[in-house]
Symmetry: D2
Subunit: 328 residues, 4 copies
């Protein structure tokens, strides 16, 4: 077991609200425990470039409420090569970093697993992605904030939809995971929700919308489309619906990257603080290649390999059923 004196912390992959709150917790917990902390910019790219900075308590003052990540993030193909990782390790060693805390998604976890095994350096991973599709935690950092951002947009669109009797298709993030779409769709009172995990036939969708129409609800129909839906996104769904269902004026809205930003919700800030704190504690206990997460109200750990090799879709069966029921 390594005697840890300095940890390195970085964010990698897509940024997510709460990453700054998490960096703050990692840094302050480490300092409290008399460790030093190196901030690594731009994830694995920064390891390769030796793009490091010393973190003090002041470095993380007044960042808990900020979206994005002060350590920035990047994609890094070179780290996928043996040579890349060798270069990274040299920089890490030269900086005196004994252990790592990695905040990110699937790709981040995989990179950390490789690196830790190859160079025998302890690493704890924290699930940070708005998609909420990682195994080992009920929630990932940023998911709650992103869902709130989406429902604010839906609430606004419903105002104008209701004033005009229009049919709106709103595309939200989620290439493989329908978590944001399903939750924001339920929370936004959407008439229908199209998910990557479940094929939705256009005819079925039209039948559903027509039925709602028949019940006199036509004035504010909103359909949420996850970007990974099998019909090819909101523009395509709208086009196909329009070909067969002429009644409405239809409009499409692509929320895009604004879903990644914004001040984190209370839920995400608390989650980030707890997981950052727990990650440092796990390192100090001598643990390695673990993820930290929450189950119910408790912080839990999962072996990194298990987290990587399993998928956990958080689409409970009651939620899929209630979409149908509540849209009546």
């Amino acid at each position: 077991m390594v005697n840890i004196k300095r940890i390195g912390v970085f964010t990698s992959g897509g940024d997510a609200p709460g990453m700054n709150a998490c960096i703050r917790a990692v840094v302050r917990t480490a300092l409290y425990e008399k460790l030093s902390v190196t901030g690594i910019y731009q994830g694995y790219q920064g390891m390769l470039d030796g793009n490091f900075t010393e973190m003090t308590s002041r470095s993380v003052s007044n960042i808990i409420q900020l979206g994005g990540t002060i350590l920035k993030t990047a994609r890094c193909l070179e780290f996928k090569t043996k040579e890349g990782r060798a270069k990274a390790y040299e920089n890490v060693k030269a900086a005196g970093i004994d252990a790592l805390v990695a905040i990110g998604g699937d790709g981040t976890f995989t990179g950390a697993d490789f690196f830790s095994k190859e160079y025998d350096i302890p690493v704890i991973c924290i699930p940070g992605t708005i998609d909420n599709d990682l195994y080992g935690s009920d929630f990932t950092l940023g998911y709650d904030t992103a869902t709130n951002t989406v429902i604010e947009a839906i609430d606004k669109i419903r105002d104008t939809a209701a004033s005009h009797e229009r049919l709106f298709f709103i595309e939200v993030m989620g290439r493989d995971s329908g978590c944001i779409a399903l939750n924001a769709g339920i929370a936004g009172g959407a008439e229908a929700i199209l998910l990557p995990e479940k094929e939705t036939a256009i005819d079925e969708l039209i039948a559903h919308l027509s039925a709602a129409d028949g019940r006199g609800k036509k004035s504010s129909s909103i359909v949420i489309v996850a970007e990974g839906d099998q019909n090819g996104g909101a523009y395509n769904v709208a086009k196909k619906v329009k070909e067969k269902f002429d009644y409405y004026d239809t409009k499409v809205s692509i929320l895009g990257h604004l879903q990644r930003g914004g001040s984190p919700s209370s839920f995400d800030r608390v989650l980030a603080s707890r997981l950052g704190f727990a990650a440092v504690k796990e390192l100090l206990k001598g643990n390695n290649r673990m993820t930290v997460g929450v189950r119910g109200n408790e912080v839990v750990t999962t072996p990194l390999e298990e987290a990587i090799n399993n998928k956990e879709y958080k689409l409970s069966s009651d939620m899929l059923e209630l979409v149908q029921v509540l849209a009546i």
Copy 2:
């Protein structure tokens, strides 16, 4: 001069936040003055259909904070015909409506002018459109709220833009008017703003972005594109920039109709209340074919014909200059 006992109120054209606050002010001011009020649904379409409702103080309770319009709105081609207006007049007469308050934009004003002249019915118009492009008022209902909606989106996108060193193109509403684009662009700290009123050469834009890059500002460049920009919208601008300027990862965001919704800002609610109040007062003074608006802190009136035949772009020259200056 008609002895007014009952007024009709309607919203027409694109909906805008603040319309409900304005309806409330018209209704309550009229009731206070012992007039009766008929709510006309869906603008001119509702006149044609006789789609009317009696308005009481209760009808407008708890709506001041709601986006959209409880009276709904629609486009109506039939009202542009002589026959259409004749049918509308019959319904209006049958309902005992002596005078009208119309809330909307250019098209609404033109329809009201025709109708009032043809059937000698008093009408006062209130400028309601997020575009802020009407003559006769410093501000139109909904513009302030829409601009705040846009800067919230920009603020969110800047979080993620800054975390990734990306170039973002954000398309905002404004087919003929750059008012939202210019104000939200300045307020959002955008690097560049493309307006319908002003041709922007792509080469110039690239030169500007490269210069900013050279000054080390590349990490969070945001370009606002009004939908009516002469380069053809944000997707086209992004494509053209990308062909010549390879450095960045670029992303496009189309805010779309969420700009029309949302709870109105304090500014819009106060403006709506003042103008609704003033419209009824003008009718009672015996005025006809006027618009009400604000200049500085004062409510003013403008003859309807003058409002229709003039354009008022609120792009002060200092603002165009300061876009260049502040982006350094």
Copy 3:
């Protein structure tokens, strides 16, 4: 087992964001299952007064995003008497109500338990209170929204605190439960948090603030005080601190009832929808005197008596520790 044809739904006790989303889910699930639904106004008071309304799908349109409760709520001493409950039962029977769904807190649950036992009427309870202090669910309706409301206030106060080097005491709701204070305090980056569950000596608080001061953090110190803190609320804490610790300009803010309002967060809307759906399903399964709640991502039930007789404080030990650690 009763053959249920009509259910009654009501909200009781303090209102909480998400109650409307929950009413909507109860109504629509019941209608979907071919049941009729009676809305009971003002909780137990409405039962006594026979203040009922027929609920249709339309009754609950466009309410998912609204704070408060469309069925209103009230305190009702008379229902605590045998005579009061007899009168209530007569009204309930006369209205053909076979079963009840009650949304509220501790007092609501106790009333429902009594009533159900006395008159053998099935009842399912849904935990709705911003305090998050009910047994049987990780979260109660409204708690997440209230916590977000508090951190928005903290974020705003931090702006001005930082500009002036001031010490702020912010009082938040929580007579017996420190759940909002602890979570919002962590999420808001507070220097110290005073909870009802834990005595905090003023000297200790001052020592803690002085230490932070010594580390150069004095510019933005914020102390969160739950209203049930044993020092007697924020004004008293501020006064006692001021007597001994003269350095700062101190200000007190009492957030008060704005913590109960606002559009519910996505989390609360989804929770409300799931629990309303589940409550009706439980009634249809023939269950009685249960609460519905969530544990992790799953909906669970708890016998009503167990829920009433147990307390569940959701203050995890790691969270109490990290308040100390993160404030360095």
Copy 4:
């Protein structure tokens, strides 16, 4: 006329949202014009202490959206003495500052006027205060944001007020100026508004509330009380009302300093950018002892002495009347 090479910029008095956007505009405009800029911390106190910093384009990156002021602010009694100003001038001279831009309220303007006359140093003042009570501008920095903050609080409180049939008294900022109270009260749909500028007899208030009650509106009465109201603030008004008008449960909310914080609205950011830009331009034109402000859509200047010696209450007579009318 001085040949200006370096300007000093500072914020003074109470902080207001938009001050950072204004500092950014001053700095970037000056740099664009090839001037150097010194940031002076904590207003006049920083002049006395020589608490200065060099401002670059980077110093003001990513601050346009932040509440508070990065230059901080303070009250400074010593600057009111001749000796204090002498010391301040020495520091200013030593730092090579040729001219000043001061952002603040009445006290800030008065100090600037004295200093400029005594030491013949050019100064331009920018009205920054949430109270909107300065002569020479339709709007002051921060007022629009503060008003929006207040209506968000009112909207939240109305949710819970409506659910319980309660009477709420909300105290808002404004010791001498009822501008926030009047505008937020109208925008929030308040039943009554108590202003410093106008005595309101408690009996009259009760009569007004009773009348509303008689019209069946009792369920959501909200009374806005400016802190400078002559009845002594919301607690006192509530107490006096309660003594005579027993029907309601009454609650008091003191919003306090959260009204000073928060991300500035689009209106305030644009206003701040324009005035910061204009202030530097005025200095370059050789002007001195002026304020910059807006009238309608145009930037205007006013001699500093005139601004100091006049009061401008922005309570239009139509607004005072419509409070009565709209509360029916």
